[in-house]
């Protein structure tokens, strides 16, 4: 569905025919114009798949952060992944610097490195000042560091007015102009991260009962925290470095999954991928069709849906 609808609409049957044609070399019905074929195959499919993968990656990352930090409102963004990645992207956009051979991938690469670097700094700093790496300290350090990095970003935008629009658009997130190449890089990263995460589902379950209890039951809490926060940051960092900062999905999807399927992480993680992925495809669909032919940044759509949800979770928690 996400593939068919768009500025140029291609109906469902034709879409299926095109898919069959490309994947199984079935003959193409005569009435389908070449333009439709290339729209579907080169633009819509990679875009939809990318939206799905990014949505899934962000949701899993959110689920992990929420459990590790034992905070239903936590996400990778709390630890400054997005701020860090934005600064990385900002540097590339402002200086116009590109690494030879990598060309267009310089921006995602810088975003990823800076995002991971931020989390690394936040967690190491936390470990320095608090040997037990308690959640409150992590969240607090993350917040402070995010604000600090954001200030740098503001400074950069003020200095480079010419590029400000490009930077703002990157920060809002969009799946436009994304082709197969991004998918080929992002998919393996996600696959590896999720597979490793699936090994740590019991630890995740235990961590939601608190660090001390998890330790008492035999979890090497600090080590596991490092691994989980790192994987989670890698998922978010790599996703947003390709498509920009897309918020709220990492918050909303895991909550829905937990409500419906319970909290066991063996189920929460795969279901977060499905729900988050599907949710992202729908948001992207809305983003590019609602005021067609103009495209909205998908980040604003997820935020429009996500912000009320955020409030809902917060207030329903307080009533209990």
């Amino acid at each position: 569905m996400g593939i068919g609808i768009g500025s140029v609409s291609v109906n469902f049957r034709d879409t299926t025919s095109i898919l069959m044609h490309k994947i199984f070399s079935r003959p193409l019905p005569d009435h389908i114009p070449d333009a439709s074929v290339s729209i579907v195959w080169s633009l819509r499919i990679p875009r939809t798949l990318l939206a799905f993968i990014v949505g899934g990656a962000l949701s899993v990352s959110g689920a992990v952060m929420q459990s590790v930090l034992k905070n239903p409102l936590a996400s990778s963004y709390t630890l400054g992944v997005s701020s860090g990645a934005s600064v990385g992207a900002g540097i590339v956009i402002l200086t116009g610097f590109t690494i030879p051979f990598l060309g267009g991938f310089t921006l995602p690469l810088f975003g990823l490195i800076f995002g991971l670097l931020t989390v690394f700094i936040v967690v190491s700093f936390t470990e320095k000042i608090d040997r037990n790496m308690s959640n409150n300290t992590i969240v607090l350090v993350g917040m402070v560091f995010s604000l600090f990095v954001n200030a740098i970003l503001t400074l950069m935008s003020a200095l480079g007015r010419d590029h400000i629009q490009q930077l703002i658009f990157w920060q809002m997130g969009s799946f436009s102009s994304r082709e197969w190449s991004s998918l080929i890089i992002l998919f393996p990263i996600m696959l590896v991260c999720v597979l490793i995460l699936m090994r740590y589902t019991r630890e995740l379950d235990l961590l939601t009962f608190g660090e001390e209890q998890a330790s008492a039951v035999g979890v090497d809490t600090n080590k596991v925290k490092w691994i989980l926060l790192g994987l989670s940051a890698a998922l978010t960092g790599s996703s947003i470095s390709f498509v920009g900062v897309i918020g709220f999905i990492d918050l909303v999807a895991p909550h829905i999954v937990r409500k419906v399927f319970g909290s066991t992480h063996r189920i929460v993680i795969p279901m977060s991928i499905l729900v988050g992925g599907a949710f992202m495809v729908i948001c992207d669909l809305v983003a590019r069709t609602i005021v067609s032919p103009t495209e909205l940044p998908v980040g604003s759509v997820t935020a429009l849906v996500g912000a009320p949800f955020f409030a809902y979770v917060y207030f329903s928690k307080r009533k209990v």
């Binding site: 001390e212 039951v217 937990r258």
Partner: protein, 269 residues
């Protein structure tokens, strides 16, 4: 230090503390604690708020760093990793809030964590049997699929007791576990633990606010005063009128006798 520890070898002292000090952020809350427990013995730690009871429990479990020496089966706990510690020592404490809900069964199964093997830690038949046994012991087997977020404080506490038992430790450290339990379950918990330790393969170290419960559970007692041992030994030598008065800064025995008098009146009515 013994180089080789055999599985079935039983040392005289199951747990031994030599000059243990521990605390938070570099400040010692407990100082130079030395004590020992044999298999089958239960130790109760008594003292007023802030005397370091919980800190001592955490130090024994290796949850906070400590100086001095803590030996479990003659092995230095400070040199063991979390996994090795958790196979021998379990901690049951006051429950905090539940953030994400699990079923009772899933929660208790998590107690098997140190015993589950393989990359994805799938439970074996033995793990599942063990969980069933523990659930039956705390009378929660019939509602094992209920979500823990819907349980009362007392039921939740029993879920955590079942999880602690499922861990199959040699020693259980209790940190005020009776807080949410009503009188019946309090006494049942203590009776159950007494039975559990009296097979000579286990021990319980407990911090209990209720001195009556502590007297029922303990074979040995430690009275803590501002982080140091004020008295230590069996009930006759360690729990005396003047020691209790001094540590709790009130006339504990008169208070207890006074309430006993009231109970006697109730009984004769």
């Amino acid at each position: 230090m013994h180089m080789f520890i055999f599985q079935n070898e039983r040392f005289d002292n199951m747990l031994e503390l030599n000059n243990v000090s521990a605390g938070y952020d570099g400040f010692d809350v407990i100082n130079n604690i030395s004590l020992n427990i044999k298999y089958g013995e239960n130790l109760c730690i008594l003292g007023p708020n802030g005397c370091g009871k919980s800190t001592l429990i955490k130090a024994i479990a290796g949850l906070i760093p400590s100086t001095g020496q803590i030996l479990m089966d003659n092995e230095n706990v400070g040199k063991m990793n979390r996994h090795e510690i958790a196979r021998k020592i379990a901690v049951m404490n006051q429950i905090s809030s539940v953030y994400f809900s699990y079923s009772i069964y899933e929660t208790v199964l998590l107690g098997r964590y140190v015993h589950m093997k393989g990359p994805f830690k799938q439970p074996t038949e033995y793990d599942e049997d063990c969980v069933d046994r523990c659930l039956k012991a705390v009378e929660l087997y019939d509602i094992k699929d209920k979500q823990i977020s819907t349980l009362s404080g007392g039921q939740l506490q029993r879920v955590f007791l079942a999880r602690t038992l499922a861990q199959e430790p040699n020693i259980i450290l209790l940190d005020e576990p009776t807080n949410h339990l009503d009188l019946r379950y309090q006494t049942e918990l203590i009776d159950y633990l007494n039975e559990w330790s009296k097979d000579g393969k286990h021990s319980v170290v407990g911090v209990l606010h209720d001195i009556n419960l502590a007297l029922t559970l303990g074979d040995k007692f430690v009275l803590l005063e501002e982080g140091s041992i004020a008295s230590y030994g069996n009930a006759e030598t360690a729990v005396t009128v003047e020691k209790l008065d001094k540590v709790f800064n009130m006339d504990v025995v008169s208070y207890m006798l006074n309430s006993l008098g009231k109970w006697k009146t109730i009984a004769t009515q």
